[in-house]
């Protein structure tokens, strides 16, 4: 039965041929770099490291024993410390290790175990004996990367992945998630989990985010968490309701020494003041527990054979090499690092992950292999063969269940005030980022053309558009204080409006607010939003974004908004939360459109200038094609404005927004104040219908102010803001008002 299997993979590898294998390696490398927002990407070798069932079970037995041993050692080193008395444990090495955090002594265990997870770097000797080279216990990583590598390779070389029945990785994380919930509930907790990462830690942040999305848990940084009364809570972004979201467990991917400035010393990451005490008092489960890094101590690792006998009364299954690794190591079939056509054997190390389950430790059936010779290291997938061909999964893994986690618990059907707020603001910020990015992209693009032209009308059009950037984003003084002919000053201001996160109204700041609003939405939005958010963040943060063409970075953001919108519309269950998101989006889009039209048409210009400006407005609002279909005339400001205000079929028109807003509000459950919201909405509709673009734009002489434009459009905006406030107060805000922030807020 099993004899056909070894044939299949080599056959597929042969079928690919040297060129096909190289192509696959390149494609996988590019895809992985894109998924992880890395540049340059790591080298990927599509030839997997294959581990048969017997060898794997041997490793699993060794790793679970190791996890049990390290768990006992943590409990003792941070508890009674009996193991240090006697000659077995290297007491001196433990005491001298800065990873031994004395303030963490006396922490209670959560659930059955102290140690929640463990990553080991292992290798095999030529005789097939597994050896552990390194344990990672403080912030064990790699599981996100492992699953991403599998996804990327199964897409770039699907034929290989069809050839062999191997263990899938995704189900492991479902087990991890459910057993973690079970453990937390057994511990008397509600099971709200967050993944604490170091936002600035480039190397691991992608891996950590992927893990978080697999766990269906929001990613937070230390400054997102606050302890006010003993328990740990999520900070809400400014401008939304006060924080209400309690946190029961923290999957800690930030070094222990940096999580609590009060008890563990100052940290560049800010830390969560009082976290050590909260953990000590059992208010929150920290996984792995604070101080787990001591288990990485090399002297302790060397003493594990004796400690295993002393503590577990068993012989240690997995040993570690005493010195440097000799040449007698098992190798794996690999691409030739020197570019040769034939496959070669290279030594590899495997990164494998162990996580506490409901009844003991479980091992991810796979991992990441890295070649370990003099040539540059390449990443390889680790295939764990399924013993029974009949139970083999078919084909490659899917992209992941987009709605994973939703509805797993009955209590999740209700929208909490904070979730409602977050969804509403998620909609608003998503739309704000989208509009700002679209506007900036068009202004940069058109601006380059107009700058090249050097005519008076081109200069005026450019001035009007730059001014619109400042008006719509409310980044005053902005272009009101800049000479539009000063190219350097204009470029600097545009760059600032894109990237300066400390500037209210900037694209960077709006994005940050958008990202923040997603923190508590893990149960409601699909996992697809996390990689999209990562790409957007990297684009905004990377200095390279400004060295390359600005339009390109802005396009990444516009695309990202499309992905996020798609992820929500295609993945999120219909219901109140979804309607609040929709309402937020529509309000923001309407506000943005009114601000844009109000800015560019507030003064009468020559038709030549207004046509140029209108062309840009049509691009920003995606109305160019619709206009060309509706009218045979060249772009005419009055006609365009009329379309954007009144055409209910145009997805970025005011009429369209008002209609969708009405539908969303109609679906919302009735509450005491529903009638107020409905009557405001009725006002808004009648005002929208009475707006006549022709009468607004027509009569005034060139160069004079169109007084009707700011007055009429401003009144509509005021109504929208009142409506937004009413919605918030009705559906999710606590009675007291919190301070508003950012641009153009209610």
């Amino acid at each position: 039965m099993t004899s056909h299997r070894p044939d299949t993979l080599p056959a597929e590898l042969r079928a690919l041929g040297p060129a096909g294998r190289r192509r696959a390696a390149g494609a996988a490398r590019d895809m992985l770099a894109a998924e992880l927002s890395q540049r340059p990407g790591e080298i990927v070798d599509p030839v997997p490291v294959v581990v048969d069932d017997e060898a794997w079970q041997d490793l699993v037995a060794g790793l679970t024993q190791r996890a049990r041993l390290l768990d006992e050692l943590y409990g003792d080193l941070y508890g009674p410390r009996t193991v240090l008395t006697g000659d077995v444990a290297p007491a001196e090495a433990v005491f001298a290790d800065p990873a031994y955090l004395r303030p963490a002594v006396g922490m209670p265990a959560h659930g059955a175990a102290h140690l929640h997870m463990l990553t080991c770097r292992v290798t095999r000797t030529a005789e097939g004996r597994w050896m552990v080279l390194e344990d990672s216990t403080d912030t064990p990583g790699g599981s996100g990367l492992a699953i991403e590598l599998r996804r990327v390779l199964s897409r770039s070389v699907p034929s290989l992945y069809r050839s062999t029945p191997l263990h899938r990785l995704q189900p492991f994380f479902d087990t991890v998630r459910t057993s973690l919930h079970a453990r937390l509930r057994a511990d008397g907790r509600a099971g709200r989990l967050v993944v604490l990462i170091d936002e600035a830690g480039d190397a691991q942040s992608a891996d950590h985010r992927l893990l978080a999305s697999l766990l269906g848990a929001p990613v937070v940084s230390a400054t997102d968490l606050v302890i006010r009364d003993g328990s740990v809570r999520l900070h809400a972004p400014a401008g939304t309701a006060a924080e209400t979201t309690g946190v029961d467990a923290i999957w800690r991917l930030v070094p222990s020494a940096q999580v609590d400035p009060l008890d563990l010393g100052p940290t560049p990451l800010g830390g969560v003041t009082g976290l050590t005490e909260a953990a000590r008092r059992g208010e929150v489960a920290v996984l792995n527990p604070i101080g787990a890094g001591i288990l990485e101590n090399p002297a302790l690792r060397a003493a594990l054979p004796d400690l295993c006998r002393q503590v577990l009364h068993e012989d240690l299954r997995l040993h570690s090499p005493a010195g440097p690794l000799g040449p007698e190591r098992a190798t794996a079939l690999s691409l030739d690092p020197d570019g040769g056509e034939e496959l070669v054997e290279r030594p590899v190390t495997l990164q494998v992950m162990v996580v506490a389950g409901e009844s003991g430790y479980e091992v991810l059936p796979g991992g990441i292999a890295r070649t370990d010779d003099d040539a540059p290291p390449a990443l390889k997938d680790v295939w764990v063969l399924v013993p029974e061909p009949s139970s083999a999964p078919e084909g490659a893994e899917s992209r992941g269940e987009a709605l994973e986690g939703i509805g797993a618990l009955p209590s999740r059907t209700a929208i909490t005030p904070s979730i409602g707020t977050d969804l509403f603001w998620f909609g608003r910020y998503l739309e704000r980022v989208d509009q700002t990015a679209r506007m900036l992209r068009t202004v940069v693009d058109v601006g380059n053309d107009l700058r090249a032209e050097r005519s008076a009308s081109a200069l005026t059009a450019r001035t009007v558009l730059l001014r619109a950037v400042t008006d719509v984003t409310a980044t005053y003084p902005g272009f009101t204080a800049i000479d539009p002919t000063d190219g350097d000053a204009v470029d600097a201001e545009l760059a600032s409006v894109v990237t300066d996160v400390s500037r209210p109204g900037s694209l960077g700041q709006s994005f940050r607010a958008l990202e923040h609003s997603t923190l508590s939405l893990r149960d409601l939005v699909g996992e697809d939003i996390w990689p999209a958010l990562t790409r957007m963040r990297e684009t905004l943060r990377a200095p390279a974004a400004l060295e390359g063409p600005l339009e390109q970075s802005l396009t990444v953001l516009v695309d990202g908004c499309l992905t996020l919108t798609g992820a929500i519309t295609e993945s999120m269950s219909r219901g109140t939360g979804r309607d609040l998101w929709e309402a937020g989006r529509r309000i923001e889009r309407a506000l943005g459109l009114l601000a844009l039209l109000g800015s560019v048409f507030s003064e009468r210009r020559s038709l030549r200038v207004e046509q140029r400006v209108s062309a840009a407005v049509a691009t920003i609002t995606g109305a160019s094609t619709a206009f060309r279909r509706a009218y045979r005339s060249p772009l005419h400001p009055e006609l365009l404005a009329e379309m954007l205000l009144a055409d209910a079929a145009l997805p970025r028109s005011l009429a369209f927004q008002v209609e969708r807003l009405r539908e969303a509000v109609d679906r919302l459950p009735d509450t005491s104040a529903t009638s107020e919201v409905r009557s405001l909405l009725a006002d808004l509709r009648s005002r929208t219908e009475s707006l006549s673009a022709r009468s607004l734009l027509q009569p005034e002489a060139e160069g004079s102010a169109r007084t009707g434009v700011p007055a009429q459009l401003g009144a509509a905006r005021d109504l929208l803001r009142t409506l937004s406030t009413a919605l918030e107060e009705e559906f999710f805000r606590a009675p007291e008002r919190t301070a508003a922030w950012g641009i153009d807020d209610v």
């Binding site: 410390r81 240090l84 008395t85 006697g86 000659d87 007491a91 001196e92 005491f95 001298a96 004395r102 303030p103 002594v105 006396g106 302890i227 006010r228 009364d229 003993g230 400035p261 009060l262 008890d263 003041t273 009082g274 005490e277 000590r280 008092r281």
Partner: protein, 333 residues
């Protein structure tokens, strides 16, 4: 029974004798225990209202072989959202406090009643050569945790200036009691006590170069010297008996000729097998006796600061700090 050794004329104060070693004398009465009422108040006043305050305190007297704690209590004003205490890794009482909500002032009171016993050591133990007290001679019966006090710690490392003192103090075969008296004396005479010359963040190097410092710094120097010879030494924090006889009036200066801020005194303790830990106070040139109330010990200051915290409030806010301590003897029944 131990009189302050640095008494008398100004001339005598400049060149005091080494401290007397408190030895057990056969047939002589043991020193009388003293009961104290301890009240330690730390007050912060903020120029502008702050929002939240987190604190970690080591201000409760702890049980030691020479000290019994009859009662103790920490109170915080304004009313804290969280006020908890646990026994830390060194057996000290460690208090966490969290004040949530706007406040302009923070008061932390620690009140306790303790009995402090006199200390006298067996003469033959203190006559043993200091080399017999080092880590390599401990044998298996010494608690493993003692190793923690031989190794370097965040504030304590062996630097040349430390080794220089150590070589003068720990001459071959010198009795440990005499060596500790000499260590106390050398630091007392070789360094000038001046508050303000150093801060809690001054390094050992800075203190040794300047030959100035406060009780904390002198204790660190003593600990570093002992450790560099392979002895276990720990940093002890506590209070000195204060002058005021009225428990209602808190003093800020210790009684009589004692030096140091009464608020948070510090000294050191060295492990002498067969005797236990022997406490010496270089600041006052004395072995520790019934005038000292012990709150906590650790490897160095960083393990047991009396009170530190993190305040959440407006940027650039200023605050004033006042500390007052009363360590007042009670009449024994």
């Amino acid at each position: 029974m131990s009189e302050p050794s640095a008494s008398g004329s100004a001339a005598a104060r400049r060149t005091p004798a080494p401290p007397r070693i408190p030895l057990q004398v056969e047939g002589a009465a043991a020193p009388e225990p003293v009961d104290y009422l301890v009240h330690h108040l730390t007050s912060y006043r903020y120029q502008r209202t702050v929002d939240r305050n987190y604190g970690r305190a080591h201000v409760e007297p702890r049980a030691t072989p020479y000290q019994r704690v009859l009662s103790h209590e920490v109170t915080v004003e304004p009313a804290p959202a969280v006020l908890t205490a646990h026994t830390d890794v060194y057996g000290n009482s460690s208090t966490f406090l969290l004040v949530n909500g706007p406040h302009d002032a923070l008061d932390v009171h620690s009140r306790a009643r303790v009995t402090v016993l006199g200390r006298e050591y067996p003469p033959e133990r203190l006559a043993a050569p200091w080399e017999s007290c080092t880590q390599d001679r401990w044998g298996n019966l010494m608690p493993a945790e003692s190793v923690d006090f031989v190794l370097p710690s965040p504030r304590i490392r062996t630097i040349p200036a430390v080794r220089e003192i150590a070589e003068q103090v720990f001459t071959p075969e010198r009795p440990i009691g005499e060596a500790l008296a000499d260590l106390t004396h050398r630091i007392h005479t070789g360094f000038t006590y001046s508050s303000g010359a150093t801060t809690v963040t001054s390094t050992l190097e800075e203190v040794l170069a300047a030959r100035h410092g406060v009780c904390q710094d002198f204790s660190h120097v003593g600990v570093a010297v002992a450790r560099c010879m392979g002895l276990a030494a720990r940093y002890v924090s506590g209070y000195l008996r204060t002058a005021s006889a009225d428990p209602a009036t808190l003093g800020t200066a210790p009684t009589g000729e004692m030096i140091g801020s009464a608020a948070s005194h510090a000294w050191l303790s060295v492990l002498v097998p067969g005797c236990g830990w022997v406490d010496i106070d270089p600041t006052n040139n004395t072995f520790v006796d019934q005038r000292f109330v012990t709150t906590a010990w650790g490897r160095d200051y960083t393990d047991v600061p009396p009170l530190r915290g993190i305040v959440v409030g407006p940027a650039g806010n200023r605050s004033t700090l006042e500390v007052a301590v009363g360590v007042v003897p009670e009449a024994r029944d």
